[in-house]
């Protein structure tokens, strides 16, 4: 074999090796527009959107700085506000810190309140039921309904463990009548460097087989919880744009300190399962610029820091992602699909 042939063989081997080993999907994952609509909402925020079966959109507007203005709103197909559901408050039928909403198969809206309360509203706005989350009790951050299996999950931060360096993450399962079934703890003690209790924001979603995918704002980790066995798997969220908040004792956090530092860190904000992908959004609390980390349901990270058109606010039954972008006329709701551009067959 001549020197030329040896060189050629070496180059060929290197090329084949690179093509096989390098993650081909990472560069191929992208977003493509499906449709877009305009909500004629010129004030407040759009934190979460749920498509209702009648073609309307349920919108959660939540702002800690303007808590009395938070709302659960229904918008029609024409983008106009049809109805506001419930109101700010701490009593039955109110919401104090409206962290999450979910929609049942019958079209009822479930509102999860940090104030340890779950309320079920009809789309017409009637309070069907209000439940206290007290046995065990904890501030609720997220709710995931799994009506096919007759259960729902609540995630949040256990108030008694807020100062613990081991973290306060809490995930409980209840039957649909509200009876507590079991907890999935401890999630992961290795992940947490120090207490970041002030910044804890939990988000979760379920896949078709009922597995829970969950993130906690200050930690670059995606958890997958198997409800049947209780097993908890941990996948690192690799990102260059993620800057975790500083670990600081709760007692030292003041409004002044927060206002100075809040623009310096980002957090994992939302997790959405759109089979076969699990999408985690990364955003600074003070910015609309959002990036996505895309995983498959086995926990392999397929895309890093994929730019998104706006904050991730939900997903549709068809497996598309919903983003919200503020414009002078209102909020554009952008429905986009994850595609593998030029994926090899």
């Amino acid at each position: 074999m001549t020197l030329f042939q040896r060189s050629l063989a070496l180059w060929l081997a290197i090329f084949v090796g690179w093509a096989g080993i390098a993650s081909p999907q990472e560069a191929r994952i992208g977003l493509t527009a499906v449709r877009q609509s305009l909500l004629l909402k010129t004030s407040g925020r759009v934190c979460q959107v749920h498509a209702l079966s009648v073609g309307q959109l349920a919108v959660r507007d939540f702002d800690l700085a303007k808590e009395a203005a938070q709302a659960l709103e229904i918008y029609g197909l024409d983008g106009r506000l049809k109805k506001k559901i419930g109101r700010f408050g701490r009593g039955p039928g109110h919401y104090y810190r409206l962290r999450d909403i979910d929609v049942s198969t019958q079209g009822d809206l479930w509102a999860a309140d940090v104030d340890m309360r779950l309320t079920r509203f009809s789309v017409q706005g009637a309070v069907r039921e209000t439940r206290l989350v007290q046995r065990p009790g904890f501030p609720v951050h997220d709710l995931a309904l799994d009506e096919a299996r007759g259960v729902y999950f609540l995630a949040g931060c256990d108030g008694e463990k807020m100062e613990s360096a081991a973290g306060c993450e809490t995930l409980h399962r209840y039957d649909l009548k509200g009876n507590y079934q079991r907890s999935f703890l401890p999630l992961d003690l290795k992940t947490r460097p120090l207490s970041t209790a002030a910044f804890e924001v939990f988000s979760m979603d379920l896949d078709r087989s009922g597995r829970v995918f969950m993130v906690d704002g200050p930690l670059p980790v995606l958890w997958r919880i198997e409800p049947t066995t209780g097993a908890v798997l941990r996948f690192a969220v690799k990102s260059k744009v993620f800057v975790p908040p500083p670990a600081i004792p709760l007692a030292q956090i003041t409004k002044e300190w927060l206002s100075k530092t809040v623009s310096t860190f980002s957090r994992l904000e939302q997790v959405e399962v759109v089979a076969p992908y699990v999408v985690v959004s990364i955003r600074k609390p003070t910015s609309e610029v959002t990036h996505l980390a895309v995983f498959d349901t086995a926990g392999r990270q397929l895309a890093v820091d994929l730019p998104a058109p706006g904050p991730l606010v939900g997903s549709t039954a068809a497996g598309n992602l919903l983003f919200a972008r503020k414009t002078p006329k209102g909020f554009e709701i952008l429905e986009q699909k994850i595609v593998r551009a030029g994926a090899r067959k």
């Binding site: 701490r90 007290q134 009790g137 108030g159 008694e160």
Partner: protein, 198 residues
């Protein structure tokens, strides 16, 4: 004309330099004092904003208003109380964090039978109050301030809120915001167990 140099007293220059040094020190001290005073005023203001405390002027209304109880009766708080009372003001949503405080109140009730502990649960109804009392094992009586009107009248800035009151004179002995740490909780228990024995 004498050309002899003027007499220079020994240490004169040093004395003039020393004076400037002392003046600079005094100015620096004054600046520090002013900055400290300003910080103190700011801190006090911030604390006042957060914990301005309950307004004792609304205590007579609290004591005389007929309120539904978690046990299903309607009672006046004043009828339940002895001369000293510990009013624990809270909402159903407070109870995850205030569970340790609840245990403290049960201890206080056992240690100081002369101080009646009563819960005032706001922004709820009698059913939820009963459920909350059961869920958290509350043994002291709980009254319901359904729409939070009394809470607003008392100007209680946040819940859970604790106040030890003199029911006859309608004055507040002392009051505490939520206890966040074990040390704060212990300080409250110590303070209340010493009340009237000092």
């Amino acid at each position: 004309v004498s050309t002899a140099p003027a007499a220079v007293l020994p240490g004169d220059g040093r004395a003039r330099g020393g004076g400037a040094f002392y003046a600079a020190c005094i100015v620096a001290l004054l600046c520090c004092t002013a900055a400290l005073a300003w910080q103190t005023v700011r801190l006090r203001k911030a604390l006042d904003n957060d914990f301005s405390g309950a307004d004792p002027r609304a205590l007579p209304a609290l004591l005389s208003a007929p309120l539904p109880s978690a046990a299903g009766r309607t009672v006046r708080l004043g009828d339940l109380l002895q001369s000293k009372a510990l009013i624990f003001v809270f909402t159903p949503g407070d109870c995850a964090a205030c569970l340790p405080e609840m245990e403290d109140l049960e201890r206080i009730q056992a240690m100081r039978p002369d101080i009646r502990v009563v819960g005032l649960m706001a922004h709820t109804n009698a059913d939820e109050a009963r459920q909350t009392a059961t869920n958290f094992g509350i043994s002291f009586p709980v009254l319901v301030d359904a729409d939070g009107r009394l809470l607003a009248a008392l100007r209680i800035p946040k819940t859970p809120w604790k106040m030890v009151i003199d029911t006859r004179q309608g004055r507040i002995y002392f009051q505490d915001p939520p206890s966040l740490t074990a040390l704060e909780r212990q300080a409250f228990v110590d303070r209340i167990t010493r009340l009237g024995r000092e």
